[in-house]
């Protein structure tokens, strides 16, 4: 297990290096370097431009620049936003809780509905439940979520008036300090009446939109994993004991079927964040996804560079953790030392 851990860690090092290199090159490949962008600014002199260039280290040899960049990253220096002049890391960390809160809610939504749906479909194989659940799952899987978000806004907000259209909180009626950055927790801490419900109402639509594709994936995955497991000898043994179907399916089969599903859930962090970019844009959710898109619009390349570096690092680390915790749910691996 320890050697496995070391090997797995060693494998991520080149990926990290390559990631640094790509983000480093990116800012140099962008048409017109970041200084050129400012040429249009009124009253900026060529001397001032050269000065800026020097400040950003762009007049150094390229290898030196890369070394400086990597050195900075290792010390938590992810650059400074051109527009806001704030350190990128600081901006990222302020916005990140919003993305995490949304992603966790979406994932919970997907798991809590997807797993039971997959189990029901598998145990009613070929029946009406199976067919309709899997039809729905495939529809969800095929969903262009930006459209899905707009449709939900149209129906739930504009027509039925059930949910707010955008943002995380109703700023007119509620104001409370950000303690954890998670609105669900902050609103409870604030003790303001109705604040928690307001936070929940803001979360509903984004959660559904971001959770739809993972929900479909989890449901389909659970079903096929379950179907495979149901053919196993030990399931037959469980049935041979005269156990009730809910015990055979819900305990003996499900426990085994969930092993691949948990892996898929863990490895879906990347696609969840990709979905978050769209979802946050639709719902004006102040998270890192929306911030990235806006950075592109503002040509804030340092922010983009730092943001991509940070997001990808998170994906790499989470995938690593998923690999390592895989053993915890599978005794066959846990004991293979």
């Amino acid at each position: 297990m320890f050697r496995f851990l070391l090997r797995r860690l060693a494998l991520t090092v080149p990926t990290f290096l390559a990631l640094m290199f790509v983000t480093f090159m990116m800012i140099r490949l962008v048409p017109g370097d970041p200084i050129e962008v400012r040429r249009g600014e009124r009253g900026i002199s060529p001397e001032r431009l050269a000065e800026l260039r020097h400040e950003m280290g762009l007049d150094q040899p390229i290898l030196k620049q890369f070394a400086d960049y990597a050195w900075g990253l290792l010390h938590g220096d992810f650059g400074v936003s051109i527009i806001t002049k704030n350190p990128v890391l600081q901006e990222f960390l302020t916005l990140f809780p919003a993305t995490v809160e949304l992603s966790i809610c979406a994932l919970l939504f997907a798991i809590l509905i997807g797993v039971p749906a997959g189990v029901i479909a598998a145990s009613r194989r070929g029946g009406v439940y199976d067919q309709s659940l899997m039809g729905l799952a495939l529809t969800g899987y095929s969903m262009p979520i930006f459209w899905w978000g707009l449709i939900l806004i149209l129906v739930m907000s504009n027509t039925l008036g059930l949910t707010p259209v955008s943002g995380r909180v109703d700023l007119i009626n509620y104001y409370y300090p950000s303690v954890t950055g998670f609105m669900l927790i902050d609103s409870l801490l604030s003790g303001e009446k109705g604040a928690f419900l307001d936070a929940v109402r803001h979360l509903i639509l984004p959660t559904i939109v971001l959770g739809t594709v993972p929900l479909a994936v989890i449901a389909r995955m659970t079903r096929s994993s379950m179907l495979e497991v149901l053919e196993e000898d030990y399931v037959r043994t469980a049935r041979a004991k005269g156990l009730a179907p809910y015990r055979v399916i819900g305990i003996h089969a499900l426990r085994n079927a969930l092993i691949p599903v948990v892996t898929v859930i863990g490895l879906s962090v990347g696609s969840l964040l990709a979905g978050a970019v769209l979802t946050e844009t639709i719902f004006s959710w102040p998270g890192v996804g929306k911030w990235l898109i806006e950075s592109i619009g503002r040509r804030d390349y340092p922010a983009l560079q730092g943001g991509i570096m940070l997001i990808s690092s998170i994906v790499i680390v989470v995938n690593l953790l998923v690999d390592l915790t895989y053993g915890l749910i599978n005794p066959r691996i846990r004991h293979a030392r």
């Binding site: 990631l19 262009p144 990709a274 844009t281 592109i296």
Partner: protein, 302 residues
């Protein structure tokens, strides 16, 4: 016990069906897959003959007829069966031409990914060693960046247009093809028939492309079908974010983005392109599921 080995074998009542026939049989049995196939054929037909079928030029702006509702809503007219958008362009014609663009993106991404995936995957499996490590690390890198973020990054660098959308989406989904080909090639390479071919002096090119590759095809075909869906969705998302095909190109994603402001007043302008994407992608996915079940002997009922 004396045994007469020359006894003629008695023919059984049914012979095992041929692989292609049994593939078609199990595909046909899957109602969803057949439905998907029909829809896909329909969409392809519309895409090919859009210039004949479309009632109007997709770019022509009928200034006097902006934001007309579809035919089934009061005020709709047969001249513009699905209504018109904010600039008075005919929705039906734009949707028809849009199918061209979406299918073109989906298919090009799929073909390019397939070719690159097969080459890189086979190289990785065949050479092993450093080649394998380098290819795998690059694929790991691509996969560690969330797909849409990477596509956005690439488009930001090379500029937003249709061709670059295809490039970006291809890069994003390449690892799936490479890993799939590599994995199945490795499995095949360890089998006896490959060893036999090697021993009998078959050259490496012939071995990889004629002996090994055909046996890796079934999962690759399924991946290709799913890959078309992913590409269409990803390209539409880029279009929606304004980073894909640029206006006035009738691309479904950017049509959706254009009509965001009309969501309350003229919802159909926004709803229609999304429905087109959903139906197309759903149909291809249905077909892909059918392909997988029919190609994967493990899942067969017999």
């Amino acid at each position: 016990m004396p045994v007469d080995a020359s006894l003629p074998a008695v023919a059984g009542p049914t012979a095992p069906p041929s692989p292609l026939l049994s593939f078609w049989r199990s595909f046909r049995e899957n109602r969803g897959a057949v439905m998907g196939l029909v829809v896909v054929v329909f969409v392809i037909f519309v895409a090919i003959f859009a210039h004949v079928l479309a009632p109007h030029d997709p770019l022509e702006q009928f200034r006097g007829f902006t934001k007309l509702p579809p035919i089934w809503v009061d005020g709709g007219s047969w001249t513009y069966p699905l209504g018109t958008d904010a600039l008075g362009r005919d929705m039906l014609s734009r949707l028809m031409y849009g199918s061209r663009i979406s299918l073109f993106i989906g298919l090009s991404v799929m073909v390019v990914s397939m070719i690159c995936g097969v080459v890189l995957g086979l190289a990785s499996a065949w050479f092993g060693g450093v080649t394998d490590v380098i290819i795998l690390r690059i694929m790991d890198l691509i996969m560690s960046i969330p797909s849409l973020v990477l596509a956005i990054l690439i488009v930001a660098i090379i500029g937003p247009n249709l061709t670059n959308t295809i490039v970006a989406v291809t890069v994003v989904y390449l690892p799936r093809y490479v890993r799939l080909v590599r994995a199945s090639a490795l499995t095949e390479l360890s089998k006896d028939y490959v060893t036999a071919a090697k021993v009998s002096g078959v050259g490496p090119w012939r071995l990889m492309f004629v002996t090994v590759l055909p046996n890796c095809l079934p999962p690759l075909i399924v991946q290709a079908a799913l890959g078309v869906c992913d590409a269409i969705l990803e390209a539409a998302a880029l279009g929606f974010l304004g980073l894909g095909a640029q206006p006035p190109t009738p691309e479904w994603g950017s049509m959706l983005a254009d009509s965001r402001d009309l969501i309350t007043s003229h919802p159909w302008v926004m709803a229609l392109p999304g429905i087109a994407i959903l139906i197309t992608v759903l149909a291809i996915n249905l077909m892909g599921d059918g392909l997988r079940d029919a190609l994967d002997p493990r899942l067969k009922k017999s």
